[in-house]
């Protein structure tokens, strides 16, 4: 924009001569080419190839492999490890979504008040969300160990410790605990943004009209918070379904296969067993689950948002 006034004027005259509406000319299509090329090379083409490999017995190395139809998928139906992993994945995703957003919402309501420490608390509670998940997971592996800090702390209160990560019934919930600890602040920040967009006047008017805090929350805050709820639910459920790092660092899928998720099983099958085809068939199932859940969630939540607005 370094054109001087003289030049600009002359150009405008030239442009005005034929009465073309250049202003409506949209930016050219080729602006999208670099992004599309990168996206196609990294995501689109490999994903399509992945879907193809899911119907083969490819081992990841051998250029010779056979098309075996649905065999990988029928094998999955008879594979207790695979069925277990699908079940754990869904359980973890739902548990994280419910608990993380429940706590996140309570925290947001807490720091959206006039308490003096609100700014400090926002900074502190959000901090774990920026730290590398694999690092926080290793930290918790020690905290939850037999001689770890959690058992020490319980000992102070006279409660007997447990082998949190070694107990197949508990380990899955410990993974949920660690993810919630790390990302509750993330949910909080998004809810907080939603809460702060609610005009104070509406809230005060309702209070004057005599509605109590619960009623005000349900009738005013909840509908106006709909967009924040949508984003939070989407992020946490998709994050939960794709979970890998925390499981890898906390339990490695164990004890036995008690905490294996689809992601950890994909990794194990592909890189320790050389079953690339089977492993990618698992990834296809993962994709299908994500797609169905996102589509369902989108339908329900956008209806809610419309109802709220």
């Amino acid at each position: 924009m370094t054109l001087d006034l003289q030049q600009r004027r002359s150009r405008r005259v030239v442009a005005a001569a034929p009465p073309r509406r250049r202003a409506h000319a949209a930016p050219p299509w080729w602006f999208t080419v670099p992004a599309l090329l990168l996206f196609a090379f990294v995501v689109l083409v490999p994903s399509a190839r992945g879907v193809y490999y899911a119907f083969t017995d490819w081992d990841g190395l051998d250029p010779q492999f056979a098309f075996i139809g649905l065999d990988n998928f029928t094998a999955m139906a008879d594979d207790p490890d695979a069925l277990g992993a699908i079940w754990h994945t869904l359980l973890i995703a739902v548990a994280i979504t419910v608990i993380q957003n429940g706590i996140g919402l309570l925290l947001a309501l807490g720091v959206n008040t006039t308490i003096k420490s609100r700014n400090f608390l926002r900074v502190l509670l959000f901090a774990p969300a920026v730290v590398t998940p694999i690092v926080t997971a290793y930290l918790w592996r020690n905290l939850l160990g037999p001689d770890g800090a959690v058992n020490s702390l319980l000992g102070v209160f006279g409660v007997e410790g447990k082998n949190w990560l070694g107990d197949p019934g508990l380990a899955l919930w410990m993974i949920v605990l660690v993810v919630v600890w790390q990302f509750a602040g993330y949910s909080m920040v998004i809810f907080l943004a939603g809460l702060q967009s609610i005009p104070r006047e509406i809230y005060e008017a309702a209070a004057i009209d005599g509605s109590g805090p619960v009623r005000r929350f349900w009738s005013i805050v909840r509908p106006l918070l709909a967009p924040a709820i949508t984003i939070n639910l989407m992020l946490s459920i998709i994050g939960g379904i794709k979970l890998f790092d925390q499981v890898y660092a906390l339990t490695g899928g164990g004890p036995g296969h008690a905490t294996d998720t689809i992601s950890t099983l994909i990794y194990k099958d592909a890189f320790t067993l050389g079953e690339f085809g089977y492993s990618i068939a698992l990834a296809v199932v993962l994709t299908a689950i994500v797609a169905v859940i996102s589509a369902g969630q989108y339908t329900v939540l956008s209806r809610n948002e419309k109802a709220a607005s």
Binding site: F39, V130, V131, G194
Partner: protein
Amino acid sequence: MTRYTTKTFALEMLMIAVAIVFAFPVYVLVNLAIRSPSDTSSPIALTQSPTLANFSQAWQEGGLGGALINSVIVTAVSVLIVLVVSSLAAYPLARSTAHWSRGTFLVIMLGLILPFQLAALPLYQTIRDLGLLGSVWSLVLFYAGLQVPFTTFLYVGFLRALPRDFEEAATIDGCGPLTAFRYVVLPMLKPITVTALVLNTVSVWNDFFTPLLYLSGSDQQTMPVAVAGFVGQFVSDWNLIFAALLISIVPVLAVYLSLQRSIINGFAGGLKG
């Protein structure tokens, strides 16, 4: 409603108690990282004679310096590429109402749903055939493509809410599309660029699965891979491991604390769409 009442005080105390529970793991992390391995007292007891020896040992034996440099390079280059190509792509995608534009946008948005595990394995083969396994440039390429959908989504949402007057004026004044983009549109995108920069930096820096696949067995590592390797190597020497964890957290926390205001606003604002 704005007065500081007894109820507010009670809430304040409750929230501080919650914060202490949240911060407890960090206390243990620091407490054990400054403890010598011979000290076997309870992990929650305050360390009596603190030492910094664990930090220097972790730094020397963990290859953390090299990993730090690799992480910085990978994150900086791939995030820069993503911001440039995504903002450029978002401009026509947000402005044009043509069929190709809507179709292209939907195809890119498909990338928000596709789990990276699906693409990561076949891409592993391509990266291997290109001889890029074990090179940090494979990661740059991967993240540059992987982060396109989310970043484009942020830019398109933001652009649609912006008035077109300025860029139309620039076009009337004879600016080509690239000039209009560079000097008119890009400056207006600054708030969302900051958000996209932060969100992409956090996810690229923290990613573990991809470098685990593409760099394993090589001497090149990123910070998360180096930490995982370190834990594997010093299995039960938790004082040393905690020192390494703390070292790896410091750069992230330093950036976070210095930018926390815009990061928290950016996270919230960017996700509000």
